[in-house]
Amino acid sequence: MHNVGASPRRGGGYGRVTGHQEYLADIKLNDVLHVKLVTLDVARARILSIDTSDAEQVPGVAFVFTPDDLPKPMPRFGPIFQDRPVLAEGEIKYHGEPVAAVAADTKDAAEEGALRVKVNYEKLPGGVFTIADALAPDAVLVQDPALRPGDPLADTNVMSEKRFGWGDIDAQEADLVVEDTYQFPMVTHFAIEPHGFMAAPEDGGIALWSTIQHPYLLQKMMAKMLGLSLSKVRVQAPDPGGGFGGKQIPKYEPLIAYMALKAGRPCRLVLSLDETFQAVRRSSAEIRVRTGFNSEGYIQFQDIETNFLVGAYVDIADRVVGKSSYAAAGPYRVPAAKIIGRTIVSHTMPSTAFRGFGIPQISWAREMMMDEAALRLGIDRLEIRLRNLARFNDEFIPLERADGDWEQTVRIAAKRIGWGDPLPPDHGRGIAVGLKSGPTTGLSYSTVRLLFDGSAIVYAGTSDMGQGARTIFAQIAADELGVDFDQVRVVMGDTSVVPYDQQTSASRSSVLMGTAVQRACHDVQQKVADRAAKHYGLDEDSIKIASGLLVLPDREVSLVEVVQEVLAPLGGEIIGNGEMRKDKDPNHPLGGTAAFFEFNCTASEVKVDKDTGHVTVIKHVTVGDVGKSLNPLQVQSQDDGAAIMGLGHTLMEHYIFDDEGRVRNIGAIDYRILTSMDLPLELHSESVENADGPGPYGIKGVSEGSLLVTAPAVGAAVRDATGALIRDLPMTPQRVWEALQEAKSEA
């Protein structure tokens, strides 16, 4: 076993460093029509009419696609509620919602055409842009109540209200109760590759290309929408150039599909970066936390209300709310909890999945409140967490058990940051713990072909968007089959070639698809063993299977050698299949227990320039309980990357709106993410590996852990350095300065 646990060169790496890798925008289709979206520069408007005559005159424009070109009633789609129209119907509900689309022979002509489409509209006053707006008694309704027949909440902007909890919080006795409300801003994924979509009619069906993370979900949705069998819908999904959740759910594929079917030609839409800002974001939130403690700092109850503002269409955000709220009380021993989570719609761009899936938003509030209690009770902020931390196998949420030695993770982080060491002036430290549930259901299939010459091909429907799925599946296959890592090809991204995979999300792939790949390899091994038994005239029971080997009564022989013997002289291959299924559990509020938990402890030391409010992260430590690092370099890269991304929403990222709901800072100049010059002076990511996960070799999932509690670790450090408490992210220099001024005037 020498590939698993090592860090061989990344699968697909060669293409990435030579420029030969084909991302979606690099794929050239013959006779393609370029598509440009038509949008309005307002947040809310009633569409009165669309005049396409000028646009149609532009040389090269093939047609202008409007709601009139779509079936009636307007097709709507969405993974939970089918609320999103293919094109805005009668009304736009957010700044940037497309009202029409132009198809042309060249990009220039499409752009020209889009400028000449005349939309006659009536701006609508006001709108729902904040949670207060949404919940006001006279609030405008963002969605038509008729879309939710029989729903008692249909006449509100609350799409759903979830209640979780255990015990009776009112029966608990607390010596200290702390309560406060925290805000998490709207931020966007800003993958360096903007979303892209192509469609072409194909032999009684349709071919689709998309940057999508869930090709099979797209296939299913489009088959249903277009009335086609799955076999007639082919989705090709090249490795996305960054996803982070923003490419999970279909967005403009339906539009492009309808356009291609109308045109009888391929259609191509690649968004500009600016357009992605108006297409995807994280659900923003207001989190109210009320926690009761006894005098020793032990939690007596958690009373948490999470209000998530999800945008005009729900997309997957309702799941974000449910899943994160369920675990809102955190990785602690909590005798009683009451949690209410709300999915609230607004006249803003729709939110979708984003790394962390609601946990960063909730943890921001909950962890800062732990610090508040520690400060008031005079207990060390590390100590209060150690006292309350759930221990291995604790049923810390009903039906869920702590699946790791989390205390170990916390102690390592504390040690690395030098918790308790003296600090220079203007420096401060913070520490926080966070937890995210892995997938609650799952279904992954894999096929592995061991070829006659000892090379292998692995089929895995996971999307490799940089987390390195390709590489680890090759590592697993190489070790299980005894094949050279460099001789394993991993095939992904084509629903007509690769068997089904539910989706790539929730850090699931190393556990779910990893298991499927491993089982497919075991299937290959078993088939080889069966043929060997016949070939050598041995009893089947006398052959043992080990990684890459068959152990015969008298000797060990490599799997490949046996294959070459038993398949000679014609050659051929051995094909194995594997499946990993985690079924839905109807008795569980989330549809299933978590396959594993991503547990993380983040500790940060900052220095604050009290005159300007600038925060410099001196040292940032993140430790995750990963089970096993299949590829340590990839794990570290993901952890570093997640931490840096977390520093983004902590220190500088946010959408800025005007008071009419339009986004003011679209694009790279005024939406700030971390550059190479903004890194912590010292960044340290570490993994705890106790092989206690459900996946191959004891792995759990990784990739989200390190941004779960970046904000409270840094927020606590800023408070430690300055005494100023900030409840709204991001902690821009101006915000920090304002908090310092406020603290000064209160003193």
Binding site: Y14, G242, L273, G466, I669
Partner: protein
């Protein structure tokens, strides 16, 4: 004066004569006219560096240059880094250090790094971070990228 301009430009060592639209950028010319799609399009305002190419020895954002401006110039794109039969030491270092995750920013990072090493064979970590400060990476593989550039520089010095 014209809306279509004829230019002579050397791309990755190969002299070409091309007719380009006056209102097309160098980025569009590379990706659409000469089919070199290794150079990527992202922010198109000169902030992200995904479109970085080397023109006459200097790293530049091809999204902010009109195609006509490279008449008479030498342009190197990521496709021009490979040596016959092998990756350049810098490309190899990027693979060894795990610098490429999703990979979309990597062509730009490679070009900025190549230009840096052309002018500074022994850069410090700070100099590398500054030299690549115009290349955004959302996977945030900055540390791995910096290490890779350092390794390539060291490798060239030690060789």
């Amino acid at each position: 004066m014209n809306t279509m301009i004829e230019i002579d430009v050397t791309i990755n060592g190969r002299p070409r004569t091309l007719e380009v639209a006056a209102n097309h950028t160098l980025l569009e010319m590379l990706r659409d006219d000469v089919d070199l799609t290794g150079t990527k399009e992202c922010c198109v305002v000169g902030e992200c560096g995904a479109c970085t190419v080397i023109v006459n020895g200097r790293a530049m954002n091809s999204c902010l240059m009109l195609a006509a401006e490279v008449d008479g110039a030498e342009v190197v794109t990521v496709e021009g880094l490979e040596m016959t039969d092998d990756l350049s030491p810098l490309q190899g270092a990027f693979l060894d250090e795990g610098a490429a995750q999703c990979g979309f920013c990597i062509p730009g990072q490679l070009m900025a790094a190549t230009a840096l090493l052309m002018h500074n064979q022994d850069p410090s970590v700070e100099e590398i971070q500054e030299g690549l400060a115009g290349n955004l990476c959302r996977c945030a593989g900055y540390e791995q990228i910096t290490k890779a550039v350092m390794a390539a520089a060291r490798g060239a010095i030690d060789a």
